[in-house]
Amino acid sequence: MTFLIKEFLRKYKLDDMEQTLTLKPSEKIEFLSDLNNLMSIINRIFDKLCNISSLRGGQILMALAKLESFEEVINKADVQRCLNIDRREKLYHAFDYLKEQNYIKIIKKSPKFHILKINEKDNPDLILFRELVGKYWISPEEGKKKAMKWKELKKK
C-alpha cells in the first residue's frame, strides 16, 4: 500500500491554517506510524535508485517522474531533452536496463516513436516518488533555463 503526501496532509488537516493540530494519544500513534510509513517509502525509493546499475538509469526515472507530473505522453526525446543530454545513445542501455527490471513500460507505437511510463502497477512506491520528484526536483532542463536567465540578466 502506498501513502501519498497529499493524503497525509489532508488526513491531519496540516494544510488548513485556521485549525490547530490537536491529537489524542491514539491519533498521535497513528500520526507517527503514518510518518514512519512515509519515511520508509522514501528510503526504499533511494535504495532502489542506489541499486540501479548505471547513473543514467536513475536519471531517466527522475526525468520520467518529473515529466509525468505535467505531461501524459512522454517519449525518449522528451526524456533526453529533460536531462539535457546531447546524444540519445547515452541513454539506450539505461532504458533497456529499466525495462528489464520492470521499472518502466515502453509502448512501441511505431519503430521510432516509443511511449514511456513508470511502472507504478508493479512498483507502487514509485507513486510517491513521482509526487516527490514532480514537486521538488529541478531537472537539468529547468536548471539550464534558470542559469541562462540569470546570466542574461547580469549582462543588462
Partner: protein
C-alpha cells in the same frame, strides 16, 4: 589512400564515451594511445633538433674557441648565426616544456574537447587558460635579451671552461622550462565565465597507467568557483556554510591545505565524466543563489 583517409576520419570522429565500463575502458585506452603517440612524436623532433644543434655548433664558430674571433659575432652573419643557434635552443626548450606539460598537466586534447561539448550543451562557453605558455614566452624573451646584451661576458666564460655552457643551459631549463610548467599546473585550467567576476575553474586528472585498479575512478574533475567572500566576514560566511551544507558540497577542493589557508571561501565540487554536466549545473545554480542573496542583502542595507 581512401582507406587511410577513412581511417583518419574514423580516428578524428571518435567520441569519448563514459556511459558504461566497456565504453569507459575504450575511451581511456584511446586517451592513453594519443598521449603516448604525441610524446613519441615530440621526442623524435627533440632528438633531431639536438643532432642539428650539435652539428651547427661545429659549423658556426664560437669566438676564440674553435677558430672564430669575437669580432665575428658583431657582423650581420655572425649575429644571424648566433640568433639561429639561440632559436634552436628555444625550440628545444619548447619541446621539453611541451613534454613536461603533457606529463604534469595531463592536458589531453580529446578530453578537453569532450568537456567543451558538455559545457556547450549547458549553453556556456569556456576558455582554456594558458598561463604556463605565456610565462614560457616571457622568460625566453628575457633570456634572449640577456644573451644578446652579455654575449661578450658569456664568450669569455665559455673560453675559461666549456662546462659553463652546460651550467647556463641548466639555469635556462629551470627558469624558462620547469618553472612555467609548475606555475601552469596551478594556473592552467578550463575557465567558464558566467558573469563579471563570477566564474568556474575546472581542473582534471587522468590516470592512464594500466596497473591502476578498475574500481578506482580513472578520470576525475575538480570544479572551483571564484572567490566568494572573506572568511572573516561572519554574515557572508554563515550564508556560505548554509548553502554549501544544504547542497552537500565538499569542504575543500583539490589542494586541501590550500583551502585551509586561503582567506577566501570558494564553492568546490568533485565529479566524474558521466555526471560532470549535472555537477557543473548544480554549481552554477548555487552561484546564482549566492549572487541573488548577496544582492538582496546589499539592497536591504
Amino acid at each position: 589512400m581512401e582507406r587511410i583517409k577513412k581511417k583518419m576520419k574514423k580516428k578524428n570522429n571518435f567520441n569519448l564515451n563514459f556511459e558504461n565500463d566497456e565504453l569507459e575502458q575504450q575511451s581511456i585506452k584511446r586517451i592513453r594511445e594519443d598521449f603516448f603517440n604525441t610524446i613519441l612524436s615530440r621526442i623524435f623532433v627533440i632528438i633531431s633538433l639536438v643532432l642539428y644543434s650539435i652539428i651547427s655548433f661545429y659549423l658556426f664558430p664560437v669566438p676564440n674557441s674553435k677558430g672564430g674571433s669575437l669580432e665575428d659575432t658583431y657582423s650581420i652573419t655572425g649575429f644571424l648565426n648566433f640568433t639561429i643557434v639561440w632559436f634552436i635552443i628555444v625550440v628545444l626548450g619548447y619541446f621539453l616544456f611541451y613534454i613536461l606539460k603533457l606529463v604534469f598537466y595531463k592536458n589531453r586534447k580529446q578530453f578537453v574537447v569532450y568537456l567543451e561539448k558538455e559545457i556547450l550543451m549547458l549553453g556556456f562557453k569556456n576558455r582554456v587558460l594558458k598561463v604556463g605558455l605565456k610565462y614560457f614566452i616571457f622568460t625566453n624573451i628575457i633570456f634572449y635579451l640577456i644573451v644578446v646584451l652579455f654575449k661578450d661576458q658569456l664568450y669569455t666564460l665559455i673560453n675559461i671552461n666549456l662546462l659553463y655552457i652546460l651550467f647556463f643551459f641548466i639555469i635556462y631549463v629551470v627558469i624558462a622550462v620547469v618553472t612555467p610548467v609548475i606555475l601552469g599546473s596551478y594556473q592552467n585550467k578550463i575557465k567558464i565565465l558566467l558573469k563579471r567576476r563570477i566564474f568556474i575553474k575546472i581542473d582534471f586528472k587522468i590516470k592512464t597507467a594500466k596497473s591502476y585498479n578498475d574500481l578506482i575512478n580513472k578520470i576525475y574533475l575538480h570544479l572551483r568557483s571564484n572567490r566568494l567572500c572573506l572568511k572573516f566576514n561572519r554574515s557572508k560566511s554563515n550564508l556560505f556554510f548554509k548553502i554549501s551544507k544544504r547542497n552537500w558540497l565538499p569542504k575543500s577542493g583539490k589542494f586541501k591545505s590550500f583551502s585551509k589557508f586561503t582567506p577566501y571561501h570558494h564553492f568546490f565540487e568533485f565529479s566524474t565524466p558521466i555526471n560532470f554536466q549535472n555537477k557543473l549545473l548544480n554549481l552554477v545554480l548555487l552561484l546564482r543563489e549566492w549572487d541573488k542573496k548577496i544582492q538582496k542583502n546589499c539592497q536591504s542595507l
